[in-house]
Symmetry: C2
Subunit: 367 residues, 2 copies
């Protein structure tokens, strides 16, 4: 388990900088202050040219000698210290473990440094934006809940992982897929198919769809976790692969696609490293039930929440294209949503043998 | 994508038998009837000798010419037919797709064969118990949400998957791990460590714990899905590996352990193929906070639900051993529960370097 000796990483230097700042201020008998970019809706905007949701430039000072801010300042430094420890030891961990690691009873008191994880999570996001380092670069993992199969070879911890030779199960996508941890050694695929649900991914993997259509099949088993999004982005960027997204035809599916494409409002900072502005929406489209002859009785009635959410989406800047307005309005006027699973009504292999081949042939997707 | 020609499987013959029964009865002008084992709590018991929760022998007849049963009878035959289709084509699918596949508008009516998935799911369970075939043998998948790493080699779809050579990410455990789909070609491990949460699995995988302690690391990223449980059982049975379970110290963790060990009440039928009566509870034990010096402030107060659930567990037949009564009562009297993540309070690698090595050395587990 011996770790190689290593030079401080760029991220480590930035983290140490937080402590240096406190020391420097103390030496000058000044109030230590950290300028932290504002992570609220008011400081987020959609960059039309780049096709990304981005953070603005507003910052807020967090200072030590301000009674309202002192505790938060101290917590920020503690969290930065725990994150430095991860860098020095070259370890990764979870948000929850960072919370536990930094929780202590303050000496000669009954007060805890932190009471709940709700206090440490935002501080990690503060440090992400302040130091312009992705959470993964800070060595903080999310869940690993994805699978990948197809003509791509990774190097993970020195092992060559050939995703054409892992049966139906495939490679379990790690939470952190930064180049430091995972290298794309080879990729001969023509495109990435990012499938929302595990069921359809299993269907396609079982049918070896990736072999016939020379693609990489990727899923996050639901809303794709960060590792899956980041991996799709890397395959897109480094290997110039188009990314097609396959989701249920409901407002939730549209939203998942939009997050993959231009990022999310909550994590606007990360769009520049995670979003794929050229991602295409392959389906399920509200035009598909008619085009592919799906009976109305496999549709599900839109409920009030669905309708409200669809109307919200209609108003988003990034859904203003005519094709998208039609797409969403068609769903609303039909009053129905459709799951990908409903394709099984025709045939268990309809997705593999009819639906996707025709979609690809007709280049029938939305941008 | 060509499938090999194949003989009808044993399961296929059983499924066809359901249709034959209807035809035979019709020819004899008798009422077609299926005898289905009763899947209610009243027909479930704990077999002390085997250490398993088992189904009793009570059955109920489902008949075609009974007005109250006719629709359900028809639905059962439809579902059996869809399942036969899966066998013939050698495909697997999900519960949800079975529902969609069997949903049709009945000819010359406005009535659907099924209205919701709530109608088809229990029928699949009925067929499982009637035909004594696991859901997986019927080719019906659950989610695939597990990862495995360590000295074991699988054969999946003809590919040799060596789990010592898949980096930190590991092999993505498929939902169906029956020998028909997944073969264990080689396993030189000394034991299986089944870890509840992905966080700790990631820690151990990153630290290559499996190499130093010659074990297989398995997780389901939460309550282990069927594929993960079944794979642990197969490693236990076919390779004689002891299985140690590592869960949070809360009533939910105890319950997860108990399901792995003796099965669940809801799916009593499956215990005989899924349960591992010799599985050991490695931790987190309510004795660990003291033994390993975890501060009280990383414990979480038991809420009313926790207390009620712990009291229920105390009453279960399979928690009557003295050691288990002490274990659960100790939690109740401390008023605290502890997550595995809390070990990070000591050190990010405390789990790998201190906690588990000492547990293994002291053979400190519950049976």
């Amino acid at each position: 388990m011996a770790k190689k000796p290593r030079k401080p990483t760029a991220v480590e230097k930035k983290l140490v900088g937080v402590a240096d700042l406190v020391i420097a201020a103390a030496e000058k008998r000044k109030d230590p202050t950290i300028a932290i970019p504002v992570r609220s809706l008011s400081n987020v905007n959609f960059n039309e040219r780049k096709g990304l949701i981005e953070m603005g430039k507003r910052k807020q000072a967090r200072s030590f000698f301000n009674v309202a801010m002192a505790k938060k300042f101290m917590q920020t430094v503690l969290v930065a210290d725990a994150l430095s420890e991860l860098q020095r030891a070259n370890l990764t961990t979870s948000l929850r473990e960072i919370y536990y690691r930094t929780k202590h009873t303050i000496k000669d008191s009954h007060e805890n440094t932190l009471d709940t994880q709700d206090e440490s999570d935002p501080l990690i996001e503060d440090l992400e934006v302040t130091l312009t380092a992705l959470r993964e670069e800070l060595h903080v993992r999310a869940e690993n809940a994805g699978s990948i199969v197809g003509p791509v070879v990774f190097v993970d911890d020195g092992d060559r992982v050939d995703c054409t030779r892992l049966g139906k199960g495939g490679y379990s996508v790690p939470s952190i897929v930064e180049p430091e941890y995972l290298q794309i050694a080879r990729c001969t695929a023509d495109f990435v198919l990012l499938v929302e649900k595990g069921t359809q991914w299993n269907r396609l993997s079982e049918d070896k769809f990736w072999r016939r259509y020379n693609c990489v099949l990727l899923t996050g088993n639901g809303q794709p976790p960060r590792g899956v999004r980041r991996l799709a982005r890397r395959l897109h960027e480094e290997k110039q692969l188009p990314v097609y997204v396959l989701v249920d035809n409901d407002p939730w599916g549209y939203y998942i696609y939009s997050v993959i494409k231009q990022g999310s409002i909550n994590l606007a900072f990360e769009s520049q490293r995670m979003a794929i502005p050229k991602a295409k929406f392959m389906g399920l489209s509200s035009a598909d039930p008619e085009a592919y002859g799906l009976p109305r009785n496999v549709g599900i009635k839109l409920n009030d929440k669905d309708v409200a959410r669809a109307r919200e989406l209609l108003a988003y800047t990034w859904f203003q294209k005519k094709s998208w307005q039609e797409e969403i309005k068609r769903m609303l006027s039909s009053g129905l949503k459709y799951e990908l699973d409903a394709l099984a009504n025709k045939d268990f292999q309809y997705l593999t043998k009819k639906y996707l081949p025709r979609k690809l042939k007709e280049k029938d997707w939305l941008d």
